[in-house]
C-alpha cells in the first residue's frame, strides 16, 4: 500500500485484497491455540512443581474449643448453608466483598479416625497460630501425622532429657539402618532362596509332565538320530546345489535364494522334530529318585530360609524397642497400629519429620529436593499415594523403547515394500487406505485385540504349545502342502515378471493375479502347521499347569507389541512419504552406476529418508508413551512387584507386568483410597510424564537435525 502509488493512480487497493482481516483471523486462531497450550503446560508445571514444597503447620482453635493441627492447602470464599452471624474473631475471616472465607486443611492422622482433609470456615476459628514445635510426620503407613513430638521411648520407657530435632533425626537414621538391613536380606538372600526353591519345584514338575506325555514312547538311539539328522542336512544341501545348477543364468539368483530359504525351513523342522540331543523320559523309579533328591535339597533350602526369617525377626524385635510419642492438638497419641491403639508408634515407621514452622528457606528447599529425589527414585508405598514412582518411570521408558524396537523394522520394511516393490494398483491403494484407517481405530480396540491375540493365543502357545496337536502323519502332509505352496508361489512370481522393456503377456498377468492367492494359501498352511504341530510342547508348561501362565497373560512384551500395532500406521505413512521425497535423480544416479534396486534402497533411499523415518518414530513413540486405554488390558498394573529389567537371568523379563505413568495417573487420581491426598502426586506424575515425552521428542529432534544437516543439499 505505497502512498505514492495510491496517489498517482487515484485508486486504493482494498483492504480485503491484502487479506488483512483474514490475516488477523489466522493470527487470532494461532494465539488461541498457543494460549491453550501455555495454559495446559503452565498448569501442569506449576501444580506439579509445587506439590513437594513444605507447607507450614497451623494450630487452629475453634470457637467450640476444639483444637487441631493442619497444613493449609487453599482459602476460598463460599456460601454457607446457614447464614453466619457476626464476622468472627479473625480479621481475615471475610474477603473484601464481605463473603465468608473457608480454608482447606490437610489434617492427616487418619489412624485416629478422621478424614485427612477438612474445610474450616474461618469465622468459626478463634485463633490460628504457627507453633514452632508442630511438625508434619510422613509415615510408611497411614499417611501424614500432624502433631507434636513429645518424647522418644526405649523398651516402653521414656528417654528423659532434652529432646531436640537432632536426637529425633539420629533415632530415625538408626531405624532406617535397621530397615535397610531387613530389606537387603529380603531382596538378596531371601529372594535368591525363593528363586532356587521355585526353579527346583518347576524343574521337577516339568519332568513329571514329560514323563506323563512320553509314557511308552521310546526314542531311537542317539547315534541313529545323529545319523538321520546329518543325512537330512546333506540331502537338503545336495538338492540346493542341483537347483542352483539347474537354474539358468538370469534366474540363478532367485533359485539360489529359494534354495537357501528351503534349507532354513527344513533345518527348523529338523530341529523341532528329530534333534539328536532329545532325551528319553524318566521312568517311574528314576522319577522317584529324582523326586527324593529334589526333596532333600528343598528341605536344606527351607531350613536356610527359616534361619533367614529368624534373623529378620530378631532385627524387627530390636527395632520394636524404639518408639516415639507423638500427640495431636487434642493430646491423642499417634498409635503403633490399629490393633494396639495405646502403644506409641515406632521410630522406624517415620519416613521424614518436616519442621516447617522453624528453620529458613534453605531447610524447606532441602526437604523439597529430598521429596523430589524420593519421588523419582523410590518405590511407591501406601497403595501408591506416597513414596516414589521409580518403577513407573522405568516401566514407561522400557515399554516405549520396546515399542520402538518392534515398530521400527516392521513399519519401515512394510513401507519400503509398499512404495518400492509392490506394483502400484488397486490392491496397493486398498492397502494404503486400510493402513490410514487403522490409525483412526480407537485404541481400546487394540487393547482388546492384544489381550485376545497376543496374551491369550500367542502367549498361551508359547507357554504350553498347541492346544490341539495333530497326529504326526497328517501334520507332515500339511507341511508338505505348505512347502509346495511356497515353492509354487516363488516360481509363479518369477514367471510373472516380464523381461524389462517388454510387456507382460496374458499368461504372466494370470500368474501375477494368482500368485497373491498362492502366497495367502502358503502362509495359511504354515500358520496351521505351527498351530497344530505335535512336536512343540511349550516353554513354560510346568508353571502354566499350576495356573500361573508366564507369557499367556498380560505382560510388557505383549503391551509393547500391541502399542507397536497401534503406532504402525504412523510409521508406515511417515516412512512412505520420506521415501517418496528422496529425489528421483538420486535413484537414477545409483541405478546408472549399476546398483540393483535393493542396493539403491539400502544405500541411497533409506539413508536419505532417515530424517523422515525418524519423525515418524518420534510421533509413534510419543503416542505410545502417552497411551493408557490398551495398556489397562494388556499389562499395566497398579503395583508391579518387580521391574521388567533386572540383574538376574535372563535380565529382560518380557513376561512381567509393569507400571505405566499414564495408568498410574489414572489410578492415583481416581482409584486411590485417599484421592485428595494424591492430588498433588497426580500433578507431579503428569509433569514427569510430560517431561519424559518431551525428552524423547527432543532427543529425536536433535538426532533428526543432525541427520538433516548431513543430507542438506547446497549449491545446485
Amino acid at each position: 500500500m505505497s502512498g505514492r502509488a495510491a496517489q498517482s493512480s487515484g485508486r486504493r487497493t482494498p483492504l480485503s485484497a491484502h487479506g488483512a482481516p483474514g490475516v488477523w483471523l489466522l493470527a487470532l486462531a494461532l494465539a488461541i491455540a498457543l494460549l491453550m497450550i501455555v495454559l495446559l503446560v503452565g498448569a501442569i508445571g506449576l501444580r506439579g512443581l509445587s506439590t513437594f514444597w513444605p507447607r507450614p503447620v497451623e494450630l487452629v482453635t475453634l470457637k467450640s474449643g476444639e483444637r487441631l493441627y493442619g497444613l493449609p492447602q487453599r482459602t476460598e470464599a463460599f456460601t454457607p448453608p446457614v447464614p453466619i452471624e457476626g464476622v468472627g474473631d479473625l480479621a481475615s475471616a471475610i474477603d473484601a466483598e464481605g463473603r465468608p472465607l473457608r480454608r482447606l486443611y490437610r489434617v492427616g492422622n487418619r489412624d485416629l479416625g478422621q478424614e485427612a482433609f477438612r474445610w474450616i470456615p474461618l469465622v468459626e476459628a478463634a485463633s490460628i497460630e504457627r507453633p514452632s514445635d508442630a511438625v508434619a510426620i510422613e509415615r510408611r503407613e497411614w499417611g501424614l501425622f500432624v502433631g507434636r513430638i513429645e518424647a522418644l521411648t526405649e523398651d516402653g520407657e521414656r528417654i528423659e532429657g532434652e529432646l531436640g530435632s537432632d536426637e529425633v533425626d539420629e533415632a530415625i537414621r538408626r531405624a532406617d539402618e535397621r530397615l535397610g538391613e531387613i530389606e537387603a536380606l529380603q531382596g538378596g538372600e531371601l529372594a535368591s532362596l525363593d528363586r532356587e526353591l521355585e526353579s527346583l519345584r518347576l524343574g521337577l514338575r516339568a519332568q513329571e509332565i514329560r514323563s506323563e506325555r512320553l509314557e511308552g514312547v521310546e526314542l531311537a538311539r542317539p547315534l541313529v538320530r545323529w545319523g538321520r539328522w546329518c543325512g537330512l542336512l546333506a540331502g537338503v544341501v545336495l538338492v540346493g546345489c542341483f537347483a542352483a545348477r539347474a537354474g539358468g543364468v538370469g534366474r540363478g539368483r532367485a533359485i539360489r535364494a529359494m534354495g537357501l530359504w528351503c534349507l532354513a525351513g527344513l533345518l527348523l523342522v529338523g530341529v523341532l522334530t528329530e534333534h539328536p540331543w532329545a532325551r528319553n523320559a524318566l521312568d517311574a523309579p528314576a522319577l522317584a529318585a529324582r523326586q527324593a533328591v529334589v526333596g532333600e535339597r528343598r528341605a536344606a533350602l527351607e531350613a536356610e530360609y527359616e534361619g533367614l526369617l529368624a534373623r529378620i525377626d530378631r532385627i524387627r524385635a530390636e527395632d520394636a524397642r524404639f518408639g516415639v510419642i507423638v500427640r495431636d492438638a487434642e493430646g491423642r497419641l499417634a498409635p503403633r497400629s490399629a490393633a494396639s491403639p495405646d502403644e506409641p508408634m515406632l521410630v522406624s515407621q517415620i519416613v521424614r519429620v518436616v519442621r516447617s514452622n522453624e528453620g529458613g528457606l534453605d531447610d524447606r528447599a532441602r526437604v523439597y529436593l529430598a521429596r523430589w529425589a524420593e519421588f523419582l527414585a523410590d518405590e511407591p508405598r501406601a497403595s501408591n499415594t506416597e513414596g516414589g514412582i521409580w518403577p513407573v518411570i522405568f516401566g514407561t521408558v522400557v515399554l516405549t523403547l520396546l515399542l520402538a524396537v518392534a515398530v521400527a523394522p516392521l513399519g519401515v520394511v512394510a513401507a519400503v515394500y509398499l512404495r518400492e516393490y509392490a506394483r502400484q494398483g488397486v490392491l496397493t491403494s486398498l492397502v494404503r487406505i486400510s493402513v490410514n484407517n487403522l490409525a483412526g481405530v480407537p485404541s481400546i480396540v487394540y487393547g482388546v485385540f492384544g489381550l485376545g491375540f497376543f496374551c491369550y493365543t500367542l502367549g498361551r502357545y508359547v507357554d504350553t504349545g498347541p492346544s490341539a496337536p495333530m497326529q504326526a502323519l497328517p501334520w507332515w502332509f500339511l507341511i508338505g502342502g505348505a512347502a509346495v505352496a511356497v515353492f509354487g508361489a516363488l516360481a509363479l512370481s518369477v514367471a510373472a515378471r516380464p523381461a524389462p522393456g517388454r510387456d507382460r503377456s496374458a499368461g504372466m498377468r494370470l500368474a501375477g493375479g494368482v500368485v497373491g492367492l498362492v502366497w495367502l494359501a502358503a502362509v495359511g498352511l504354515l500358520l496351521a502347521a505351527a498351530a497344530t504341530t505335535p512336536y512343540f510342547h511349550g516353554f513354560f508348561k510346568a508353571r502354566a499347569s499350576e495356573g500361573t501362565p508366564t507369557f499367556g497373560t498380560r505382560g510388557i512384551l505383549w503391551a509393547s507389541l500391541t502399542l507397536a500395532l497401534l503406532t504402525l500406521p504412523v510409521v508406515i505413512v511417515a516412512t512412505e512419504e520420506a521415501i517418496s521425497a528422496v529425489p528421483r535423480s538420486m535413484r537414477e544416479g545409483s541405478f546408472g552406476c549399476g546398483a540393483s534396486r535393493w542396493q539403491t534402497i539400502w544405500r541411497i533411499v533409506l539413508p536419505g529418508a532417515g530424517p523422515g523415518i525418524l519423525t515418524g518414530m518420534i510421533l509413534a513413540m510419543a503416542r505410545g508413551a502417552g497411551e493408557v486405554a490398551p495398556l489397562m488390558l494388556v499389562g499395566a498394573v497398579k503395583l508391579a512387584p518387580e521391574l521388567p529389567l533386572s540383574g538376574e537371568f535372563p535380565f529382560v523379563h518380557a513376561d512381567r507386568s509393569f507400571m505405566h505413568l499414564g495408568f498410574h495417573i489414572y489410578d492415583l487420581g481416581f482409584q486411590s483410597p485417599d484421592a485428595q491426598a494424591a492430588e498433588g502426586l497426580v500433578w507431579s506424575a503428569t509433569l514427569v510424564l510430560v517431561m519424559i515425552v518431551f525428552a524423547l521428542n527432543l532427543s529425536a529432534f536433535v538426532l533428526r537435525g543432525r541427520l538433516r544437516a548431513k543430507l542438506r543439499t547446497s549449491a545446485v
Partner: protein, 294 residues
C-alpha cells in the same frame, strides 16, 4: 559459430521454401524417412550400435526406427529440439527407461557386439559397463570419497587400497583431484555445482566404462563451470567413447567428433560434426544448426 552460420546461410536462403521443409513435413505427418547418414561414420567401427530401435511410453511412440552407431573412441553428440527423443535414446542405452512403468521397446542395441535388449541380459551388469552423467549434478549424500567409489562398493569391493587408488585415478581423470584431495571425507553436497558435476563424471568413469553417456551435462551449470566440464569431456574422449546429448549447438560443435540430429523421435542426419555444422546434406539440419528452426 558466427563463421559457420555465415558460410551456410547462403545455401539455405537459396532453396525453395516449400521444398525446404519437405522432410520435416513428412515427419510431422507421421512418416519415418530414412536418415541421412554420412559415409565417414560408416568408416569407423561402432562400439555401440542402435538397430531399428523403437520405444513407446504407454501408447505414445517416442523413438521411430532409430539406427546409428557410436564410433569407438570418438565423441558423438545428439542434438535436436526439446522432446525429440535424444535423452530417451541415451537412457535406452543403459536401460534406465526400464524403471518407468509402461515403457515398451522394439529393436535392439549392441554394446561391443553383445545385445542390450536380448533375453537373459543382466541389466545390472550392463549398467556397470556404461557410465552415466545426468543433467543435474546428483552426488549422493555421502562423503566425496564414498561418492566416487560407489560403483565399486556395490560391486563388492572392500579393499581400502584398491578403493583409494581408484578414487584418486577417477578424480584425477575428472580434473577435480587437486580441488578435493584434502577433503575426501567431507560431504559431496558441500561442493559447488560445477565441482559436483565433475565429481559425477569421476563416479561415472571410476569403473572404466565401455561407453560414457552424458545427458546434457552442462545445462545446470554456469558458463565457467560449463567451460571446465567441456575441457574435461575433450580430455576424457581420448580414453573413452562418449555419447553426449546436448541442446547447446555450440557445445556440440566444440566437443564432438560426430553429430546426430534428431527430430520428433526420428534420426534425421548423422555425420562428422564439421560436416553437420558447415556442410549438412539436408536443409533442415542446416536450418536447425543455424538457429532458424526448432
Amino acid at each position: 559459430m558466427s563463421q559457420v552460420s555465415a558460410v551456410t546461410s547462403n545455401r539455405a536462403a537459396a532453396s525453395d521454401p516449400a521444398e525446404r521443409y519437405r522432410l520435416i513435413e513428412e515427419i510431422r505427418r507421421g512418416g519415418v524417412p530414412t536418415a541421412e547418414i554420412h559415409d565417414e561414420v560408416r568408416r569407423h567401427e561402432p562400439v555401440l550400435e542402435v538397430q531399428a530401435f523403437r520405444l513407446w511410453y504407454g501408447g505414445a511412440q517416442a523413438l521411430f526406427d532409430v539406427s546409428m552407431g557410436a564410433p569407438r573412441g570418438k565423441v558423438t553428440a545428439i542434438i535436436g529440439p526439446s522432446g525429440c527423443g535424444k535423452s530417451t535414446l541415451l537412457r535406452s542405452v543403459n536401460r534406465l527407461n526400464d524403471l518407468i512403468d509402461g515403457v515398451r521397446v522394439e529393436g535392439d542395441m549392441t554394446l561391443n557386439g553383445a545385445s542390450i535388449y536380448g533375453p537373459g541380459v543382466d541389466v545390472i551388469d550392463l549398467r556397470k559397463r556404461l557410465g552415466m552423467v545426468f543433467q543435474k549434478p546428483n552426488p549422493f549424500p555421502m562423503s566425496i570419497f564414498e561418492n566416487v567409489v560407489y560403483p565399486l562398493r556395490i560391486d563388492g569391493e572392500r579393499r581400502r587400497s584398491v578403493l583409494q587408488e581408484a578414487c584418486e585415478r577417477a578424480l584425477t581423470g575428472a580434473a577435480i583431484w587437486n580441488e578435493v584431495k584434502d577433503r575426501l571425507k567431507e560431504s559431496a553436497l558441500g561442493l559447488s555445482g560445477g565441482q559436483q558435476q565433475r565429481l559425477c563424471i569421476a563416479r561415472a568413469i571410476v569403473a572404466d566404462p565401455e561407453v560414457l553417456l552424458l545427458d546434457e551435462p552442462c545445462s545446470a551449470l554456469d558458463p565457467i563451470a560449463t567451460l571446465r566440464v567441456e575441457e574435461l569431456i575433450a580430455e576424457i574422449s581420448q580414453r573413452y567413447t562418449v555419447l553426449i546429448v546436448t541442446h547447446n549447438m555450440q557445445q556440440a560443435a566444440r566437443v564432438s567428433d560426430f553429430t546426430a540430429f534428431m527430430y520428433l523421435g526420428r534420426l534425421v542426419e548423422f555425420g562428422p560434426t564439421s560436416a553437420i555444422f558447415q556442410n549438412p546434406r539436408l536443409a533442415e539440419t542446416e536450418e536447425y544448426v543455424t538457429g532458424r528452426f526448432g
